[in-house]
């Protein structure tokens, strides 16, 4: 209805440009408008600035839902496309578009950001700037998910680092400064390679538009053009882009910045980092690396599969060894995101080989996207829970600093438990469907990888249950020993409840998401050929 | 007034037929003018009489409520029969007319004179668009509701003129208070009928009444008040209307114990009577508009009662509303000015905004059927009750128990 009034129409706007309502630009820039406003209003009361930030962070969600209403999942091509010539000399277009993948991630961002802001409600140190940075980072992430031209895609990609840096450094824990620098320099280092790669790609092809590049890649012309550059360029371009993305995800062994960054960031920051920022990397893999460099990726997959498996298994095992709860959850993120990459690499691995099942590839790719969304929810919820623990224990968050919390705070224990079980892929909660589809796909594409990855599942269960057992069970001990450990207050419930509700809803009714992405994924899996 | 539709019952058409019979004696070009004059005369006559008897009814009912008889001694002139004191209003009128008209020396004479006139003129203007019956709409306007409230907006001006023109600090203070109150409640008043316009899709009063035709299950009328948002809107409208017409419990502008008689302090005699009359007219007009917007206008509540002419229904509803006003006045104590403004801004305005969203939800889900219909109602009701409870708690949280530092 609203969509009709705004004359939004996924079908027609794929071709007609300009006349349509620019909903995607609104999605991207509405948080920035909020950030600007908030930045201008100095001296407003903290509660006001928090509320304002929350309201503006809800904007993309509302707009995303409007877009969802008008979205036609049956179409594979990007919808609501906005394309305007921007820099003529570089053939750069301001090009935004929304397909099922982007939509899912836009909705995820729209959900996680307000929830993270709610979880940071108690941030006392300059809440206005906190809100500003959060809105900035939200806009940047949305820009990454919606941009279809490398130029501003990269701008958004890098812009997302700046607020993240300040969020970690200024609001983080004792080691925050070091972690922030490590995080930013590591990721920028990766991005630099990527920029280099795209520069070379531009020289070779003359365009930076993702859809055009993918088209060229499908034709096979891109390989020829890169080869024309000569030397090591064809390989170097791929490696550069790969490095940029692999650091961001992160792919094992480029993940060492992650635990400290996640652990030192403030609660809301960790939630956003794990919920949204880590998805940017996987999104890059799906949107850029895989469509544009299918052949190179295929050639590298035997090695990459190994790395992804290492992420799955060793990530989980490393988590088992952590005593800092935040680091533990951070490592679980490494583990979960590696599943996504595992699925993608398996698809790429099987491309062009005999016995490729399109159904398996469909399942793997669907699973990847579902897993991205679901991991966003459950990891954010877990970080939120750890944040609550941390606030109760006066900053301590060791595995052994607690005991018997379930006696002291049953509601909190229940919600945290649901998040934990969602994270370890209990059926009936959201995590299961994605993991099942990934395993189903990977098994069909590379059975051995699936079998090894099972160890990851087991290890995940072990360390998450250890977390649960040590912190929540047993006699009351540590920070929960005295009666001061209170159950959740209303404002602490606020971020957890929507997340947990979504876990249930998506666990029982995955069609909500699967319906959005299925045609897209099916078409991807239907065109698996090497140029 | 539109031409009578011959299919209606005779009684339904009677007023129009009567009017046409009168105008029929005149040549064609005069018809419009004479019709308008007849309408004006009728409105003035009927509502004037109604005003007179409402004042009496109010005094009598208040008396009864407060355990005293109320006015009962005024006799019918020359006959010396005390017919329950029914002639009291006329006696009052004669008294007001014959009293000396005192104007303070320093007062701004023009404004002092203009204030009651403007007030009465504008409140009479509002009567023009209310559909009193099936064929009884004085002026059919496309933007009738907007017209109604545009005309009503001028009352504030009159209050200001009265307060400022009197050159009396109590008058001025009271006028400022009155203005603060009027402006505060103008907002919920305006916002509370927006959902009706949203659902009915029109600003025309006749069309809004038309939109409330029919019955669900054959006995629940499709009046707007019988929907979650409509009920909330109606209640808010009535609360705001109370405040707009300076009725108790929102009668702070004329609070005798605080400000003598408010902006009316320097008025006496007939000008005072005019103010008095204008306020009652305003109340009547707002009631009429509430009936039109929420209570189905002139429509009968049950199908088998349709044989009773529409204007009778309208009149009946109007009288019920007025009695409600009187009842409220007899029941509630007066609010303090800060409570009053806080109530408007922190409670009514957010509530109306949420109600607007509620109505939007209602209109977006018009196609829901079966069990979804239940969901629709449940959501609607929750959207009314939830904010009411939450904000009600917030509102009363800091207020009760009340402490009086200077009292």
């Amino acid at each position: 209805m609203i969509a009709q009034i705004l004359q939004l129409d996924g079908h027609s706007s794929t071709v007609a440009v300009g006349a349509a309502f620019p909903i995607l630009s609104l999605i991207v820039f509405s948080p920035w408008v909020g950030a600007a406003l908030l930045a201008v209003f100095r001296g407003v009361a903290p509660s006001v600035s928090r509320t304002l930030a929350l309201i503006f962070s809800l904007g993309p969600l509302a707009l995303g839902l409007i877009a969802l209403n008008a979205f036609n999942p049956a179409l594979v091509a990007p919808q609501f496309v906005e394309s305007h010539l921007w820099i003529t000399a570089l053939n750069v277009h301001y090009h935004l578009g929304l397909d099922g993948l982007s939509l899912v991630l836009v909705l995820l961002t729209g959900i996680i950001t307000p929830v993270a802001l709610l979880a940071s409600w108690r941030v006392d140190h300059c809440p206005r700037m906190f809100g500003v940075l959060f809105l900035l980072i939200e806009g940047a992430a949305l820009g990454v998910f919606l941009a279809l031209d490398f130029f501003h895609w990269f701008v958004f990609w890098e812009l997302s680092l700046v607020p993240a840096f300040f969020l970690i450094k200024l609001w983080g824990g004792p080691g925050a400064s070091r972690a922030a620098y490590q995080f930013v320099i590591y990721t920028i280092g990766g991005s630099a390679f990527m920029l280099l790669g795209f520069a070379a790609l531009y020289v070779a092809t003359g365009t930076l538009d993702f859809t055009q590049l993918a088209q060229l890649a499908a034709d096979g012309t891109i390989g020829a053009k890169l080869a024309a550059l000569g030397g090591i360029w064809p390989k170097a371009v791929f490696v550069g882009v790969f490095l940029g993305l692999a650091v961001k995800v992160p792919l094992w062994p480029f993940h060492t910045w992650l635990p400290s960054a996640y652990a030192e960031a403030p609660v809301g920051g960790s939630m956003f980092l794990t919920g949204v920022m880590s998805k940017m990397g996987v999104y890059g893999f799906l949107r850029i690396l895989w469509p544009i460099f299918p052949a190179q990726l295929h050639a590298a997959t035997p090695c990459l599969l190994g790395l992804a498996l290492a992420g799955v298994v060793l990530g989980a095992y490393a988590a088992m060894k952590q005593t800092d709860l935040k680091r533990m959850v951070a490592y679980s993120s490494v583990n979960h995101l590696s599943y996504c990459l595992l699925a993608l690499f398996a698809v790429s691995y099987a491309t062009g080989r005999p016995g490729l099942h399109a159904e398996a590839a469909t399942a793997a790719l669907s699973g990847t996207i579902l897993q991205m969304f679901n991991h966003g929810l459950s990891a954010a919820a877990l970080f939120c829970c750890v944040g609550v623990l941390e606030s109760r224990a006066g900053g301590k968050r060791g595995l052994n600093d607690f005991g018997g919390v379930r006696t002291a705070a049953p509601i909190f224990a229940g919600l945290c438990g649901i998040s934990l079980f969602s994270s370890l892929g209990l059926p009936g909660l959201n995590g299961f469907v994605g993991e099942f589809l990934i395993f189903r796909g990977v098994f069909g594409l590379h059975a051995g990888a699936a079998a090894i990855a099972c160890f990851g599942l087991l290890a995940t269960a072990i360390f998450l249950l250890t977390f649960w057992q040590r912190v929540f069970h047993g006699p009351r001990a540590g920070a929960a020993a005295d009666g001061k450990f209170s159950d959740l207050s209303g404002i602490e419930l606020a971020p957890l409840l929507p997340l947990v509700a979504l876990m249930f809803v998506l666990g029982v009714w995955p069609q909500l998401l699967a319906g959005l992405i299925n045609p897209l994924v099916t078409s991807w899996a239907g065109h698996l050929v090497l140029p | 007034m539109i031409a009578a539709v011959t299919t209606d019952a005779f009684l339904e058409r009677a007023p129009v037929l009567l009017r046409d019979a009168v105008t029929g004696f005149l040549p064609e070009p005069w018809h419009t003018l004479v019709n308008a004059l007849i309408a004006i005369a009728l409105i003035l006559g009927i509502f004037g009489t109604l005003f007179a008897f409402i004042t009496l009814a109010e005094r009598k009912i208040l008396g009864r409520v407060q355990n005293r008889p109320g006015p009962n001694r005024a006799p019918i002139p020359f006959l010396n029969v005390r017919f329950f004191g029914l002639s009291q209003p006329f006696a009052d009128g004669v008294k007001a007319l014959t009293k000396e008209d005192v104007v303070p020396r320093d007062a701004d004479h023009v404004l002092h004179y203009l204030a009651p006139v403007a007030l009465l003129a504008f409140s009479i203007l509002t009567f023009a668009v209310i559909p009193y019956g099936k064929h009884l709409v004085p002026v059919e306007l496309d933007a009738a509701v907007l017209y109604f409230f545009a005309a009503g907006a001028a009352t504030e001006l009159a209050v200001f003129m009265a307060g400022w023109g009197s050159r009396n600090k109590y008058s001025l203070l009271a006028a400022m208070r009155a203005l603060a109150q009027l402006i505060s409640y103008e907002l919920p008043l305006l916002l509370s009928w927006v959902p009706v316009v949203l659902i009915a899709g029109t600003l025309s009063t006749t069309a809004i009444v038309e939109a409330q035709a029919g019955w669900k299950f054959g006995f629940i009328p499709h009046w707007h008040v019988f929907t979650p948002w409509g009920f909330a809107g109606f209640v808010i409208f009535m609360v705001a209307a109370l405040a707009e017409s300076n009725r108790s419990p929102f009668d702070t502008p004329e609070a005798e114990s605080e400000l003598i008689a408010g902006h009316l302090t320097e008025y006496s005699g007939f000008k005072y009577a005019l103010f008095f009359m204008a306020e009652y007219f305003g109340m009547l007009a707002l009631s009429g508009m509430a009936i039109t917007l929420f209570l189905g206008g002139w429509r009968a509540p049950l199908p088998f009662l349709e044989f009773i002419p529409s204007y009778v229904w309208f009149g009946g509803k109007l009288i019920v509303m007025i009695l409600g006003f009187i009842w409220i006045r007899a029941t509630f104590p007066r609010l303090r000015i800060d409570q009053l403004t806080r109530f408007a801004w922190k409670f009514l305005v957010p509530l109306t905004l949420i109600n607007l969203g509620n109505a939007a939800f209602w209109s977006l889900t018009f196609h829901w059927t079966g069990p979804l219909q239940i969901v629709r109602w449940a959501v609607g009701i929750v959207l009314v009750i939830g904010p009411f409870v939450v904000m009600g708690r917030k509102l009363s949280a800091g207020v009760a128990p009340r402490t009086y530092r200077y009292a």
Partner: protein, 171 residues
Amino acid sequence: MNAVLIAIALVTLGAAAVAMTLRNLIHSALLLIASWAGVAAFYLWAGAEFVAFAEVLVYVGAVSMVVLFAVLLTRRSRDDLTVASDSARRAFSGFITGGAVCGVLFGAVIASPMGVMSSPTPTVTVRQIGTQLMGTHAASLLIVGVILTVALLGAIVIASADRKDNSEDTP
């Protein structure tokens, strides 16, 4: 037809002109309200019913109140009555400039050839206005809404006194 227009114009202009010369601010504000009402009458004359009512609602109902409040809130003791030293010069230059603009405008209007306009009074229903507002002009409507909200919030922020002053009042 024209007579009505001329009457409306005379009333409106007269009220406005007198309002601009009066020393009593309240009177001039009230006269300006009369002039706005005249403008509303002009809209009615031109067949723009909705705009007319909106004009009354906004100007007569709302802006006038704000103006009157502002006048009352900024009254000083006797300072009001003193005439600024440069007021004659200012008035003179104002008249000269305004007259020049007036002359230019009148000249332009009279000089421009306006064909015979015999079109009937156009009708525009509220429904049309509404659909256009929510349709083609939806973006503008949103922007105006934002501007209004921001302006009102800003006005409150600017006009509100320091918080300390009225802490006494809160119970």
